[in-house]
Symmetry: D2
Subunit: 294 residues, 4 copies
């Protein structure tokens, strides 16, 4: 199966009914084609469409190809000053946009994001662009924490090994100076202890989004969720308006996705790109299209 779903490219041809694009348009590709007819699609939640055709999700091939066919409304034209490289990062940025939107974040809110990988970092940046007053990163890796602080976090928290989730949460809240708890918590790690800590670190009535994926079942503090009357939301891919907003945020300079691009490989060395990504070297590693090759 062909891999790839984070990509940008140049339009080589359009159908006769297409007016929004033309040959030569530089576009970011939204890699899922919904059925457009089910209740989810017609209800504004096409990311939940059960008939979705998604790149690199069996049995459908992905975008690591010389040519890829996509409906025009899923191609987002990039302004001149936005590079194709930045266009490829629209995908993970859209994931983050969707996560933060699911949280119902309001300007002035305090936010904590667990996990400082690409999605966690982008969630911090989106939260800040949405007007969050505080954006705290939580990660066990010092280097990641420092990068997060240089990128979009107003503070960093390193969990201690011997703390319970409740103890860690209490320390996180106190060190972050957020009163009785955070307004919003986002998990971009999938780790059980992060999820537990997040629940305990929220104020009453606070909002939580599950963005990361780990074990399918975890030990979960359900009573705290109930009595603090928390609001929890799943987040799956991206939907209406997410790609458009992600492009706008890059184009306007609100989010510097360039800083996340830590490697580039020609198409023929794609395997090495995957090897380094798997080894967690750098943040985002790009594979250049064949047309850029000598």
């Amino acid at each position: 199966m062909v891999l790839g779903h984070e990509s940008a490219g140049i339009v080589v041809d359009v159908g006769s009914a297409v007016s929004s694009l033309r040959k030569g348009s530089r576009v970011a590709l939204e890699p899922g084609v919904p059925c457009r007819r089910c209740t989810a699609c017609k209800g504004g939640k096409y990311n939940l469409c059960e008939h979705m055709i998604f790149a690199a999700t069996p049995p459908y091939d992905g975008t690591l190809a010389r040519f890829y066919r996509l409906p025009a409304d899923l191609c987002y034209e990039l302004p001149e000053h936005v590079s194709l490289e930045e266009g490829a990062v629209v995908e993970p940025l859209s994931v983050a946009v969707h996560i933060v939107r699911q949280s119902g974040l309001r300007p002035g809110d305090t936010v904590v994001v667990f996990g400082a990988g690409p999605v966690g970092l982008l969630c911090l940046a989106v939260a800040r662009a949405f007007g969050a007053a505080k954006t705290v990163t939580v990660d066990i890796n010092d280097e990641r924490c420092r990068f997060a602080e240089s990128f979009a976090a107003t503070g960093a928290f390193r969990p201690a090994k011997d703390e319970s989730a409740e103890q860690g949460a209490a320390r996180l809240v106190a060190e972050s100076d957020v009163g009785a708890g955070f307004d919003v918590a986002i998990d971009a790690s999938g780790a059980a202890v992060c999820i537990q800590t997040a629940i305990h670190a929220l104020r009453r009535g606070g909002s939580y989004v599950q963005g990361g994926m780990g074990r399918p079942e975890i030990e979960f503090p359900i009573t705290a969720m109930c009595t603090k009357e928390l609001h929890m939301h799943g987040s799956f891919r991206y939907g209406t308006g997410d790609y458009k907003l992600a492009v706008e945020m890059i184009a306007s300079g609100k989010i510097e996705v360039k800083r996340l691009i830590t490697g580039r490989f020609p198409f023929r060395d794609a395997e090495e790109a995957f090897r380094q990504t798997k080894a967690a070297k750098g943040i985002k590693i790009l594979i250049e299209g064949p047309e850029d090759e000598p």
Copy 2:
């Protein structure tokens, strides 16, 4: 400590600034007095007030007393045709109103409620009054299921012992004929297996409310919650407008709370009332005020 927080009574005196009530008014009592000044109170979520003074919650005495003092805005006048007995059931009905409101239920939705105790039964009735198209009760007790069906459930489901949560959910969805899953699931049981089954029985984008309380931590299907993009909400007591709506629903005959009153004891036999409640005899057992005694 004095117990009691589900109660109604007759006003014996009012302060000079009170115009909404007078001596002799028959009222349902909302048993929590919020601080009215914190962020939660001013934000329309006074049930989340950290300074709440709540009846029978230490160190505050409850309402099982001859006289009880309460701000006028927390006393809800009962229309003539509504009895004090019904007035006492406004409290658990308000719990159910709050739970169903937390779910964001929309008319035409399909709803499943786990647990057919008083709160579960009232959740079914509230969901139906809010326009739910289907209201399915889940309980292991046959008699409770039958009562639920006679009261407000459009169907009943009895879990099987040897089923996994996912198997039970699949059977529940199929037997209830609700397509890809329920729109809304409410847990009024607190049991881990119910909570797990509920998550698996929801459609993508569905809504869940935790109403019941059991163990503080449970094994929870977090990945299903994430990828189905569910919305989960805690529910704690009742807040703005809940008591008022509960009274309206009783007064208009939309919910027949009388049917839940299965026993009555004079004040001097209150201990026996508690004994029977603890033994799960009947549904709601009332203790009559001393003024009703011979």
Copy 3:
């Protein structure tokens, strides 16, 4: 041009990919086909699609025809006990469902509807089914008021000729016993004086929906709207879920649309049907399809 957009019929053939319907299915027809690709469509608001193909809206022919082609997802199967006649009334009922949904009506709210024509009557019925505590009809025609009260209104109000909008509103609020004003006001008349009265009859923070259409511009109390912090919503046709809910409400007996059907004409007498409708005789007059003719 062929007229007609309120209709039901029997499926004569389906495409090979259709599984939700089969030859012989009895269906209500949603008469607008959206583009499914624009921002409105993908955002869950397909009724606002600028590329909509709507029956009997130039240049598109309507449904007063022996055969009509429609995508399967816009055909709503009718349960056996629901007649095709009732199926034809799903269209105006969906208009009413959409209007009431736009209002954000919550169970327990008090509602006033201006105009007791078909849409106004159906708005009253929908509001009641959604849990409204009071549903007041306003019409200058006594007979219509009486019918509304027998159908779905809890009270009726007849405007007086010599009253200003503010005076009428004050009398309406007082006679309806709704405290400082209604929670929700719906205009299904399009008349300027109704719209003005509605604004003045709302409580602070109340909600208004414009359902009726009259003159394009009217004298409007903008300062009252501003300082009472009202929420006003337009309503255009129907969208996601409206048709489905309308069918459910008829099927479950929540709304007796049969009572609105006051006349029937065979296809060959369609002209007389239009003549009577134009003369405001009766409420809804049906034209029977040619296949029902001898």
Copy 4:
């Protein structure tokens, strides 16, 4: 009557139960004390309280006084680096925060604000801080337009005398390059022609807020509002969280309110300050408290 409701000051004494403030605290004053018990107050909308005691609103005196008594929860402590002068501008900034919140503005939205007086300017700045992609100012005064562009507007539009509202709207939309219309329109002028133009300049499903006040009744394009399914909201003063967010936006440097302060007068020359404000000289003119005098 004593005037004044935009003010900041230094705490001279606190009651024994107050822990959030102490003598010497520098605070912005929220000048309205709600009853805290009515439905509006308990519903999170205390700005709509009918029993509000508001500074300088008869019969209540305002804040242009040496001492002023206020509940602690309505005093917002200013960080050290925020001056009392900036603190006095928290009031109009809160008005703007409330207006923009009423609009439901989402990050990435396009916004047009009619009127470039203090509130209009602050609405532009708040919209930008909330993540608006475009913020267009509309004013007939060239100087104001230029200031708005230097402050928070991404573009400016000057209405032409001989244009109808519809023509002006069409030109505004085209020159602003916002597709089929703006997502959000805010009127901070109160002028009928602005309100009409705003309605016509919105896209289908767009959102409008009435912030300015002019004549109580105006000619209004009700049919356009209906068929475009617009959402209109009044806006009255400020409520839950608005003051807190306004202080945060000043403290974090997101909004430079200092630039709006164009004059200062000692207390004894207050009359001259009012004279200049009435003559529309400058933007915001401050009156210094007596304790700052020599």
